[in-house]
Symmetry: C2
Subunit: 347 residues, 2 copies
């Protein structure tokens, strides 16, 4: 699949109507911008732009809350854009906590000069992603910062959802012998965004995996042996594994050959010296599950389009510290915590 | 009162340890930054930095949600800083909706090179403001963007709270003859920030009014004739009045002589050509109340330190459109919606 992208500095973008500082001043131009671009697309019974706060009805007791800032550059990339990502990223944080997302707030920080049509495309994409979940954007805030003091556009979403109170997942519940399952290939999002930047002279057709993981987490919650889930975003699979080691006090052992990595991701990593285990996904889940249920969980994920590439990749090991990778030739190497090598604005 | 401010480019700040891009990469440096600066100060039973989402218990049904992005420049100003402002701003949006704030999420977008000590001061101030309310910061996200793609630091808070379901306030409930009460002088925040920037060669000792308005809103909720409250932030009192006119379909009539404005604010406005009615407050409430209860509401506010400057400033008028100001000499002028004249990064 070949994506048509509009680079941020293309002639089309330069002809776009620029957002100005008065669009953030609280007055008429701001109100019209909100009404024309945000309210129209995001319309729902609980969104009332006359009010600064939304009133929501939560019949049950347990509320789950999560927030994420989205700074991805370029704002439109193969397989997604910052608008849909801002929905999926926060929905996914709620989903891996075992919750059903219900409401989102939306913060928008626009740099003066950002194109109005581009903003409208992003909001359209955000609204479509929210409708597809479904989750409702019920309150928001827009600021415009002077040229040179922003990064085009930053979005911040906060989600609240509900969880049946008996499904509290916690990495401290993980036990030695538990099995690690990943829902699909790792690193697609980071490499797709890197390629979209064109900064290494590389080109490719890889799509980001950015998507809602709700179908995956709903399927996983059917397994009573499910201990914990996490979406491996910034810092990748390796960072989730280190978080788990710190939380449960046991070691993690992964098998290189079993970790799904697309050939395009592996090629880019080989060329640039990246390790795919540290690269961000935006539509994958890592689950830790009681070992006797791992095959069944993997099969349940395979039955979903989102989980076609699911694989059992390792185990929890009481007898060692840290994260160990068993390599193809029978060797071992320690996976350290991510240090430098940042990919800024990857999500 | 004279405030000691540290300008953003002072030698002290230039010697501060800079935040780098790896502090936002998800790995070790980011984890340590979160633990040392955020978790330590914000510690509470519901904040678990092992998890991406917080689980909260809401025994009753009605949840109120609000969000705000904070971009104020300079980040430390007389009477406050971006940290306490990020708590008060969102708490105030919940408060004027008639709610009791309970939980906050915190998004942080740091520009590479921002000082680590300055960040710690801001987080300390934020944590102290949250403890004083009290409201708990239960989840967060930190991003670091490359130098030149941010504005020092931007904070985004989302608040959820609870409201007794019979206290739904709505500007559409406002009736002709209702009275408009403001809790104190207007424009202090905007002028204090302007003076702190030093951009007009002006100096002064004015403090921002930035504060929690919860004591004011709790007092107002005791009045059954209370129709609606709003905090006049960006766009000022004039913008709140225009919002009310649009929502209730009646006109607003204000009396110049009755609107409290500090002499320092009036002087700056006269010098620079600003109208204090358009300037941001960050610790004031405007209430619309059934006319027979206006004097009692004003007296209740006078009894609070936050409401010492409260005043009855106008009425809702069925027989005209828009916002009309009765001037000192018996004349009238129409207050238009704010157009240009932005004060970027005022809040």
């Amino acid at each position: 699949m070949i994506m048509k992208l509009t680079p941020d500095n293309s002639p089309e973008e330069e002809a776009d109507e620029p957002i100005g500082l008065p669009h953030g001043n609280g007055g008429r131009l701001m109100r019209e911008l909100i009404e024309e671009i945000f309210t129209r697309e995001l319309r729902n019974p609980e969104l009332d732009t006359m009010l600064d706060a939304a009133t929501l009805s939560y019949p049950h007791g347990t509320v789950v809350m999560s927030t994420d800032c989205f700074t991805v550059q370029p704002v439109e990339f193969p397989g997604g854009d910052i608008g849909s990502l801002a929905v999926h990223g926060t929905v996914n944080d709620l989903a891996v906590a075992g919750a059903e997302p219900r409401h989102l707030s939306l913060g928008v920080i626009i740099e003066e000069g950002f194109g109005r049509r581009r903003l409208a495309r992003i909001v359209d994409s955000l609204a479509a992603a929210a409708r597809a979940i479904p989750v409702r954007v019920v309150t928001g805030d827009t600021k415009v910062v002077p040229r040179g003091e922003g990064g085009g556009i930053y979005l911040i979403t906060t989600g609240i959802g509900q969880r049946a109170s008996d499904r509290a997942l916690d990495p401290r519940r993980i036990l030695p012998g538990d099995t690690i399952v990943v829902s699909g290939p790792v690193g697609d999002h980071a490499v797709a965004v890197m390629l979209a930047r064109g900064q290494f002279g590389l080109q490719g057709e890889l799509l980001s995996d950015a998507a809602s993981v709700l179908p995956l987490t709903r399927a996983a919650l059917a397994f009573p042996g499910l201990r914990f889930m996490r979406d491996p975003t910034r810092g990748g699979l390796a960072t989730v594994m280190h978080d788990i080691v710190r939380a449960c006090g046991h070691g993690v052992r992964l098998r290189t050959d079993d970790i799904p990595v697309r050939p395009a991701v592996r090629t880019v990593c080989d060329l640039l010296g990246y390790d795919p285990l540290y690269l961000a996904c935006e539509g994958r889940v890592v689950a830790i599950v009681e070992s006797t249920q791992a095959e069944a969980l993997c099969a349940a994920w395979h039955a979903l389009p989102e989980g076609a590439g699911a694989a059992i990749i390792g185990t929890i090991n009481a007898d060692e510290d840290g994260v160990t990778l068993e390599t193809a030739l029978g060797g071992e190497r320690i996976i350290e915590e991510l240090e430098d090598d940042p990919l800024p604005r990857i999500c």
